[in-house]
């Protein structure tokens, strides 16, 4: 099976004043695969996400996003909400749910554009026309399926801000999925999760990727997550790519080990992050 390229990043450079956060980074991510971006703290991983989702305008570079059957678009030229409409969804390291909305509403907001169209900019919604009511009940149904899947259906009417941390993380992923993306960017989804929760997360992500055939871009420090579920790993250090390949090849790449452990490090198996071998 040939995998189709979903995202191609070419020569991405991001400078803040004199500080070069990302330098000449190129990689690609495929549909139906999980691509992990790893690297020590400050390597520029989140900056890549910020460029992809329109928070930053890259200094240099081309970000080509091509969904099968549609014309490719260049993300670096687009406004944030258009990037989202093109099919890029994102979660954050520090959770950004709408805390004062109910759990269900968080998932319905993600389907905003369909509902806006169905309701003719809310005019139909205001008049209570059936056209809007059908779209609305469809959105609720879709959201409920996701809530069931992540086990939050009983909490649908609670305020999102009241949920425990682990539930909020899963809800954020479900919300991103409710916007029906083709590329899902996850910024440290396993941060703060315990071993069981992160195992469940592995299963969920793999499942999303295989069921919907979308691409996942994953920033993660937890090597048990990265090594288990990624198809492809990109390693950054000080804004530059130092390795790119399958989990096996990356794990044995001497440059990667050096970046994580330092030049002179003795190869003490206990000091290596689990999953990386000397």
């Amino acid at each position: 099976m040939t995998v189709s390229e979903l995202l191609r990043v070419e020569h991405l450079t991001m400078e803040f004043g004199g500080l070069v956060a990302i330098e000449d980074l190129s990689f690609s991510a495929a549909q139906g695969e999980i691509t992990a971006i790893i690297g020590p703290n400050g390597a520029g991983k989140t900056t890549v996400f910020n460029c992809l989702t329109g928070f930053y305008k890259p200094t240099v570079g081309r970000l080509t996003f091509s969904v099968l059957g549609r014309d490719p678009v260049y993300l670096e030229r687009m406004e944030g909400f258009r990037i989202a409409r093109a099919g890029v969804a994102r979660t954050f390291q520090n959770i950004r749910l709408f805390p004062a909305m109910s759990v269900l509403e968080n998932l319905i907001v993600a389907q905003h554009n369909e509902l806006m169209r169905a309701s003719l900019f809310s005019v139909a919604g205001l008049l209570g026309l059936s056209r809007y009511r059908d779209a609305e009940s469809g959105a609720v149904k879709f959201a409920s399926q996701w809530l069931e899947r992540i086990g939050l259906l009983p909490d649908a009417d609670r305020q999102a801000g009241e949920l425990p941390y682990g539930d909020q993380r899963r809800l954020e992923i479900a919300r991103a999925m409710c916007s029906k993306p083709t590329l899902l960017c996850l910024d440290e989804p396993a941060a703060g999760l315990n071993r069981n929760e992160s195992a469940a997360l592995n299963k969920l992500l793999r499942n999303i990727c295989d069921t919907y055939g979308i691409g996942i871009l994953l920033i993660e420090h937890d090597m048990s997550v990265v090594m288990n579920i990624s198809d492809h790993i990109v390693v950054l250090d000080y804004g530059k790519k130092i390795s790119d390949g399958s989990p096996v090849s990356v794990r044995h790449d001497p440059r990667v080990i050096r970046a994580y452990l330092g030049e002179e490090a003795e190869c003490d198996p206990g000091a290596v992050e689990p999953g990386l071998s000397c």
Partner: protein, 304 residues
């Protein structure tokens, strides 16, 4: 007792108008966290546009009243919303992301510019309108005092209740309202879900201006006298109403408007007409000191 009921009716009428203007303040504050100081002027422009529309209808000879009212309402709403949209586009959007003070100053500038624009084009004198809806029902009569609920008061209160119901539904139940609440809580995240934040903010200004236009038309019909400076005090009063109800809260703005209208009517009725503004702004001071988040507002939680 009769006197009390009369002041109650007057207060509710006045409160309806304050409430309509206050919603504009509270919605804009909700979504961008800033006070739209040009909102009083938008209301004043709404009043001028309705007098203009009434006059033109008189010229063209439309005499069937429901049709005339609907046409004036439409004209006032459409043109006033254009002003509301322009205020956001000129005074707020270019300054998005800069310091809050900058937008505040540009809004005050906008307010002065609009005031002087109307002064130049319409003149400094007052404009008057003959009463359109006359008569009323006698609610209660004692020997020397009759409580009258005039038809115009009924019209104002009913229209206000209707509009508030529509807006409450809009915010709570429709995709646009949900997008507005999403922008309120986290603008960046709303963008990432495909919400056009700029457009949502524009629509919020437009919605506020629509209600201000209605308020302007109602005031024109109620008092029959308007001038270019009327937006200043009315704007401050409505702002007080929004703060009293809890700024950012839609039901709060309605409640605050009603309460303020009642306080003012009773103060004017029982103490002194000259000092009714003192009562209103005294409330503003007291609320800001003792109840900064207002009656229905949420206490402000600092974002980390």
């Amino acid at each position: 007792m009769a006197y009390f009921i009369q002041q109650l009716v007057n207060g509710l009428t006045l409160g309806s108008i304050y409430g309509l203007i206050a919603i504009g303040y509270t919605m804009v504050y909700g979504i961008i966290g800033m006070i739209n100081f040009a909102h009083g002027e938008i209301y004043m422009i709404g009043a001028f546009l309705s007098i203009l529309a009434f006059t033109m209808l008189g010229v063209t000879g439309v005499t069937w009243m429901p049709l005339a009212l609907i046409m004036v309402l439409l004209v006032a709403i459409v043109f006033t919303s254009a002003y509301g949209w322009a205020v956001e586009r000129i005074a707020y959007r270019p300054l998005r992301g800069s310091q809050r003070l900058a937008a505040l100053i540009s809004a005050i500038g906008m307010s002065l510019a609009l005031q002087n624009y109307v002064l130049l084009t319409q003149g400094a004198g007052v404009k008057t309108l003959q009463p359109i809806i006359r008569g009323g029902v006698i609610l209660y009569a004692t020997g020397n005092f009759t409580v009258i609920l005039s038809y115009i008061q009924i019209f104002i209160i009913l229209l206000t209740i209707l509009l508030m119901a529509i807006f409450a539904t809009l915010i709570a139940r429709t995709a646009l309202g949900r997008a507005q609440r999403a922008c309120e809580q986290d603008r960046g995240m709303a963008t990432l879900l495909g919400i056009n934040v700029d457009r949502t903010i524009s629509l919020t200004f437009i919605m506020g201006a629509m209600l201000a236009a209605v308020a302007g038309m109602l005031v024109t019909m109620y008092y029959g006298v308007i001038d270019f400076f009327m937006g200043f005090i009315a704007g401050l009063k409505a702002f007080t109403a929004a703060v009293l109800g809890g700024i950012g809260s839609l039901p709060g703005a309605m409640l605050g408007g009603m309460l303020l209208g009642l306080v003012e009517a009773f103060w004017a009725g029982y103490f002194s007409v000259e000092y009714k503004d003192v009562a209103s702004f005294g409330i503003l001071v007291l609320v800001l000191i003792f109840l900064p988040s207002g009656l229905l507002g949420r206490p402000d939680v600092e974002k980390v």
